[in-house]
Every structure is written in structure tokens, then in C-alpha cells.
């Protein structure tokens, strides 16, 4: 793999293709977990690898290509989320949910909207970590690596996200 990565840093398109094929699914999956829209995840995957190729000269072939490209992917997804329209964000958050899974149908439908709104209202840096840690159940260590922050920072952001969510839900009378 190191030889492949070395050739990639020299701009070898065949080496890039081999690395692309080895990592495209994983990169797509990371992005999909964050943006929760398959078409956008495909666009951002293409964008991620395009950026990786353009920055090939700056990549250290001794490092892991997978980890490097995942970091680019997470940054692209975060930029996308920061620009995203709030309504679209709520729609994407609800995308894979069962129509009404919160205890009882009537109560479920009543809670759904405010919970989605409260989650979408979280600042992007807290929302991303909360999404990966609390919803996607990703290990904190993995989140800290791809986001380029310390393990302690991940824990703090999760804590702050939970606190902020509780405050927002409390405003609309939801007290879990």
C-alpha cells in the first residue's frame, strides 16, 4: 500500500484510482451518516476525492490514506451541513426513521416535530458530534480522529449537545 500511496503523491492517476476504489465505499458511508441524503453523499464523495487528488503533493505516504481522506470527507460534510437550509436539515434527519416509533402513535407524531427541530437547532459543531455519537453510535475515539479533535473535546461536545437539547425540549414542554 505504501508504494501505491507514494505513486499517488507523485500524481499517478492509476495509483489514485486504486486508492479510490479501495476507499470510496467507506468515505461515502461516513458522509451519508452526516448528511443523511444519498445523492448529496455521492456528490460530496466525488468532491472529497477530487480535493484529495489536488492535494496529493501534500499527503505524507507514511500516513494512512484512508484516515486522511476520511478527514477531508468529514470536513466537506461539515461545510455542507453548515450551509444547509434548516427545513432540508430536518427532512434529512427524519429520513431513515420509522413513521412513528416513539411510545404510541399519537404521542409519537406529537413529539417528532419538536425533537427534530431541537436537534437541527444545535450548532453545527455539536450537531455533528451528537449525530455520530448518539444516533450512529460511533466510538468516541473514531469521532475524535476524523474530526481532528481530542477525545475530551468529543465528550464535552456530546455533553453540551445533550444539555442544549434538554433545554430546547423543555421550552416546548418535553421533559424526558
Amino acid at each position: 500500500m505504501d508504494e501505491l500511496q507514494k505513486r499517488f503523491t507523485e500524481g499517478d492517476i492509476n495509483a489514485f484510482e486504486a486508492l479510490f476504489r479501495a476507499h470510496q465505499k467507506e468515505v461515502y458511508r461516513w458522509i451519508l451518516r452526516m448528511v443523511r441524503d444519498p445523492a448529496t453523499a455521492e456528490d460530496l464523495t466525488v468532491e472529497t476525492f477530487w480535493r484529495a487528488y489536488r492535494s496529493a503533493g501534500r499527503f505524507d505516504p507514511e500516513r494512512s490514506f484512508g484516515a486522511w481522506v476520511r478527514t477531508i470527507a468529514v470536513n466537506r460534510a461539515r461545510k455542507h451541513l453548515a450551509r444547509q437550509n434548516r427545513e432540508v436539515g430536518v427532512e434529512n434527519l427524519a429520513r431513515y426513521s420509522a413513521p412513528s416509533s416513539v411510545a404510541g402513535d399519537f404521542q409519537g407524531n406529537e413529539l417528532r416535530g419538536p425533537i427534530l427541530q431541537a436537534f437541527q437547532l444545535l450548532p453545527e459543531r455539536l450537531r455533528v458530534v451528537a449525530l455520530l455519537a448518539l444516533i450512529e453510535d460511533m466510538p468516541y475515539r473514531e469521532i475524535s480522529i476524523v474530526m481532528g479533535i481530542s477525545l475530551g473535546a468529543v465528550k464535552t461536545r456530546v455533553f453540551r449537545a445533550v444539555r442544549k437539547l434538554r433545554k430546547e425540549l423543555d421550552k416546548v414542554g418535553i421533559r424526558p
Binding site: E17, F20, R21, Q24, K25, Y28, R29, L32, R33, R36, P38, E42, T45, V46, E47, F49, W50, Y53, R54, L93, A94, Y96, S97, A98, S101, V102, A103, G108, L111, R112, I115, L116, F119, L131, L134, I135, E136, D137, V162, L165, R166, L169, I174, P176
Partner: protein, 73 residues
Amino acid sequence: MRQSDEELIYLLRSVISKVPQKMELTRDLWPRTLLKLDSRQRVWGIGDWIAVAATVAMAIVFPNALLLVCYSL
């Protein structure tokens, strides 16, 4: 984590679900990536703009030379 935090997370997960494992990438994105690489490579670089600026400047300073070039074409 407090008991109430666990309950909040449970509530969240019942509204916002995990992306299903089956949501895999179903098509190869290499052709699209290659197309993007090619199209961006065709975008003008700074060298192209310098060449254009130099040509315009020459045309302003030596209009007769430009007319001669145009005439000979």
C-alpha cells in the same frame, strides 16, 4: 451519563434513526470523479491569464502590429 440523559437519548433515537447498514454505495463513482478531474484541469490557470493580459497590453501599445497580424490572417 444520568438516567435522564439515557432517556433523552432513547427519545432521540426513536425519532432520528441510524442510517441503515444496507445503505451502501450502489454505483461506482470513479467515472464521475475522473470527469470532474478532467473538467477542472481544463479551467484556465494563472499562466493563461498572464498570456491574455500580455497580448492585450501588446495590442494597446502596438496597435499597428496587431492590425498587421489580423491582416495577415
